[in-house]
Symmetry: C2
Subunit: 153 residues, 2 copies
Amino acid sequence: MNPAAIKRVMQRAEALCRERGVRLTQQRRTVLELLIASEKPLSAYDLLDRLRESVKNPAPPTVYRALDFLMQQGLIHKLESIHAYVGCTHPDHPHAGQFLICADCGEVEEVQDPRVTESLQAAGQAQGFRTHRPVVELLGVCAHCRHSKTETD
Amino acid sequence: MNPAAIKRVMQRAEALCRERGVRLTQQRRTVLELLIASEKPLSAYDLLDRLRESVKNPAPPTVYRALDFLMQQGLIHKLESIHAYVGCTHPDHPHAGQFLICADCGEVEEVQDPRVTESLQAAGQAQGFRTHRPVVELLGVCAHCRHSKTETD
DNA sequence: CCAGTAATGTTATAATGTTACATTATCCAG
DNA sequence: CTGGATAATGTAACATTATAACATTACTGG
């Protein structure tokens, strides 16, 4: 993401936290910025490594606490299938997107398809199930990687 | 699952492996049976503990290899969001189901909703994405637990 | 039987995540 | 502005999940 876009998302995050009366502290802000700026999802320990530049001696709880906070605020998402985290690009309303995860280049596309959302809700309701957190992650190969390789469809 | 049903699923697994020319060895069979018989999903280390009854000194690779094989054959599913595994109850055709995971009682329901399957495929195709493995897990509360607690809807 | 492949044994270690308790920062009522 | 409560962070140890690397054993087909 380009610097202007990063700044815009960060400002939106600031505003949201202010509205909600929660504190986007320096560490939380740093973790969020690392995720927003990254092309690819980062693991907790990736983040831990990168935090060494700005924090003296970061330990796992430092990162996990920041991640927990950011997830509670809907500012980032956790990708369960690859144990990594991505910044949310449109955190205004709470949502649980669907993620297209490329096994080749590692990039992730977040989409939010109403048909998917609705059909999942319906599938749960048919069983009397109350969904708190849907996890929808498609592991595969993105358009770019499919075309750059000699992939026969 | 009752003993008769377990036996039926195991025989189906035997037959499938025979057809495919792959070996359902004793260890693999044991792991599969443990999963089929369990009400709830089991972690790799749950399985490791239970294997001590039939194997002398099982180590993690023993379990993970069996799990890899069984997943390849579509006989079990991995639940990414809870790091656990469940037996597949209808393994005849390869498929990737959707899982309703109750945070309360721990039980898991596997469903296969055509609308979900189709809408996910469409969502991927809209991005030019080729899905190899869809991960669809709804974390929430099952009908039974919703009713047994004083849960206000 | 023999050679090749598949499966398993064994040890160590990597990667991910949590607990528990001490310390510091912030907030806000008086 | 101060003191007490709450929130956030520091720190060390540890728990859980998963893999690497290499040796050994079992099976299969000629």
